[in-house]
Amino acid sequence: MDFRFTPEQERFRREIRRFLDAHVSEALREEIATCAYTPGPLAKDFLRLLGEQGWLGVGWPKEYGGQGKTMIEQMIFYDELDLRDIHYGGLTITSLAMTLMKLASEEQKQQYLPRILRGELEICLGYTEPGAGSDLASLITRAERDGEDYVITGQKVFTTGAHYCTHIWLLARTAPELPRHKGLSIFIFPLDSPGVTVRPIYTMGGIRTNEVFLDRVRVPGSAMIGAPNSGFYTVAVALDFERIFMGKYARLRRNFNELIACCRRLTRDGRTLWGDPLVQDRLVDLHIAIERLRLLCFKSAWMVDQGKTPTAEASAQKVMASELEQRLADEGMKILGPCGQLEPGSPHAPMEGRLVSSWLLAPMMRFGGGANEIQRDIIAQRGLGLPRG
């Protein structure tokens, strides 16, 4: 038993840091901080640079052009991006591409994987509909066979990234006569296809998301991933990959360490914030919680490397990370006092307003990507073997 990184992994981390030190400019960070999750020109260039230099496929097998490293290295890579607040390209690489490798035809793999690896192709998720959130199998967007093609009609919502991604990964009903979760299929197609309309939805968290209208969008049969009517399974595979990277600890650790530094510097009522035992007590609890999350992140990644699927582990990771994000932001702002409310860019904003951004984003982290209630169901039913309700 050994919890340490290997010397190669430590070397790998130093290599990424050198690369990021050299290529993440202040201008890029500024662009990201103010772009409301809509990548600007610098971010797009940076993604392509990551692709050119082979960083995007760290954990991909070599046969698909990746570096063939382990999930631990992949995690190290995303942690380092996270620490610099770069949050692009993740899902396409870590979830959808991995699902393509597992379930797509050889032709589809050739069509998509090299372009993903070069950073040319980004894919958004088309799962949620106005009437289908946690109960995804109730969705009504339909894809009807027409000769060799499918014709897709319906509406998706909270389609984050649809305004800058090149493609959509969309779940639609292909067999209305079958039981509801057995009649669904996954399609992947360009967002500039005729009949696709993307409209913005602005959120309290500063993220722009979208609704996507599909009006008789014609896609070829080859746009379907996996067998017809196996879409629910395909989504389950993609979600297994997705959840591992949803619950991350690196940014929380960074924010926590900055909070401690702030507490040592700032004074209230004649002493440093850190000098208040009540503050110390709260920070100790947060510190322990972040360490637990870190360990669980390692465990999930390590399990993947062992050929195991971290089902309950990944769900717990998502629950812990999202709830801890909210707690850290909320407690941290309280500890900082009135300045805690100040947004990025405001005079007197401590920690560059990071806790405020985090606090505004946190509600989404709890319900998005499979609400925490669903994750707890997964832990209870698939992890502990409790009966379905």
């Binding site: 990184f5 637990r292 707890r376 169901d377 832990i379 039913q381």
Partner: protein, 372 residues
């Protein structure tokens, strides 16, 4: 990174579990709690026969030098079984200190008997107000002829009435150094006062009034034992974490089993989301507490420089996890878990016993704040 036990360690775990399922039933735990007997001699002898009492010691002292992970695996199983033995106190703490500080003759004399299960030693460290910091030790060790006299009060001494010897931390009046003296509890000048704890069934205050001991009863060379004591408390924290995780895991399994069997509204209560979510949260707590415990233990094993921090995190996380797991289980068991004759409360008390055991969680939280 390798988060699995080795094959050998997994075998130790399986064997330990089988042994304890046979020899350490809840009814034995209950009998020991009720004081009949207060020390489970047959179980202790069986543990000695399994070689467990030799696990932490160097080969030169007749030990197995088994490594911290193997030791933790056994301790986790003891926690799982809610064991009523003084394994951490006697073997890990006292045995460890005798090994660290004792001279050759002393090790030969005491460790050999201890590893055979023939010598029970209890650590008498804490003084009011229960602060394990050796700097605060006021109990006096005064030279007299070739021997010493010991005076002072010690609190929270486990099983003092059953112990053959108490390992008393005292300050040498001449030098101001902290030394460790082995004192027989049934000696003139020693008075044992029983404390009544919700958690540990056999805790004592030990009052020492000029107790005469021979020079050879004081451990080792005349050097200060403070740093050895601190190291012992760190090691104990890592192992107490393993015990807490073992106990929490067992209680989680009991609660899950109950939730599947118990029907209300025509369904197993485990099918209700409110129950499922409580258990899901417990599962995540146990899982992460186990990782924290073993990270601390491997840090000890590799001699890393973060033992103190990892042990602090493990100690706080695992103890809180064990207590919360028990309290959640009480909610799920309802009246069935509240009855004296059902077993759940044995683990609930154990959880509090571990929380307050030497180097208690409150102090480790404080230590963690200092480390931040």
């Amino acid at each position: 990174m390798d988060l699995e036990l080795s094959q050998e360690q997994a075998q130790v775990r399986d064997a330990a579990r089988r042994f304890l399922e046979r020899e350490c039933s809840p009814s034995l735990v209950r009998r020991v709690r009720e004081g009949a007997p207060s020390h489970p001699q047959a179980l202790w002898a069986g543990m000695a026969e399994q070689g467990w009492l030799t696990l932490p010691f160097e080969e030169a002292c007749g030990g197995l030098a088994a490594g911290w992970v193997t030791l933790a695996v056994v301790v986790e199983e003891l926690g799982r079984a809610c064991d009523p033995t003084p394994f951490i106190d006697c073997v890990v703490n006292c045995g460890g200190l005798i090994q660290d500080l004792g001279g050759d003759v002393q090790k030969q004399r005491w460790l050999t008997a201890l590893t055979r299960g023939e010598l029970l030693v209890s650590l008498a460290l804490l003084e009011s107000p229960a602060d394990p910091n050796p700097e605060r030790i006021e109990t006096r060790l005064e030279a007299e002829g070739t021997g010493f006299r010991v005076s002072g009060r010690k609190l929270f001494v486990e099983r003092a009435a059953d112990a053959d010897l108490l390992l008393v931390a005292a300050r040498e009046t001449a030098s101001g150094r902290v030394r460790l003296a082995l004192v027989a509890p049934r000696t003139a000048g020693v008075e044992l006062v029983r404390l009544r704890s919700l958690a540990h069934p056999h805790l004592y205050e030990v009052r020492l009034e000029g107790v005469a001991i021979e020079g050879g009863q004081v451990l080792g060379e005349p050097i200060d034992a403070a740093s050895a004591l601190q190291a012992a408390i760190r090691r104990a924290a890592a192992l107490q974490s393993a015990a807490a995780v073992g106990g929490a895991q067992r209680v989680l399994e009991m609660a899950v089993a109950h939730a599947r069997e118990r029907h209300q509204f025509g369904k197993p209560i485990g099918s209700f989301q409110a129950v499922q979510h409580m258990l899901a949260d417990v599962w995540a707590e146990v899982e992460t507490a186990r990782l924290a415990a073993y990270e601390a233990i491997t840090e000890l094993e590799f001699g890393g420089n973060a033992v103190e921090e990892k042990a602090a995190i493990a100690r706080c996380a695992s103890s809180q996890c064990f207590v919360r797991t028990c309290l959640t289980a009480h909610q799920i068991f309802g009246g069935m878990g509240f009855m004296w004759e059902t077993d759940l409360h044995l683990w609930t008390r154990k959880a509090k016993e571990i929380e307050f055991a030497c180097g208690d969680v409150g102090l480790w939280r404080r230590r963690l704040a200092e480390l931040l």
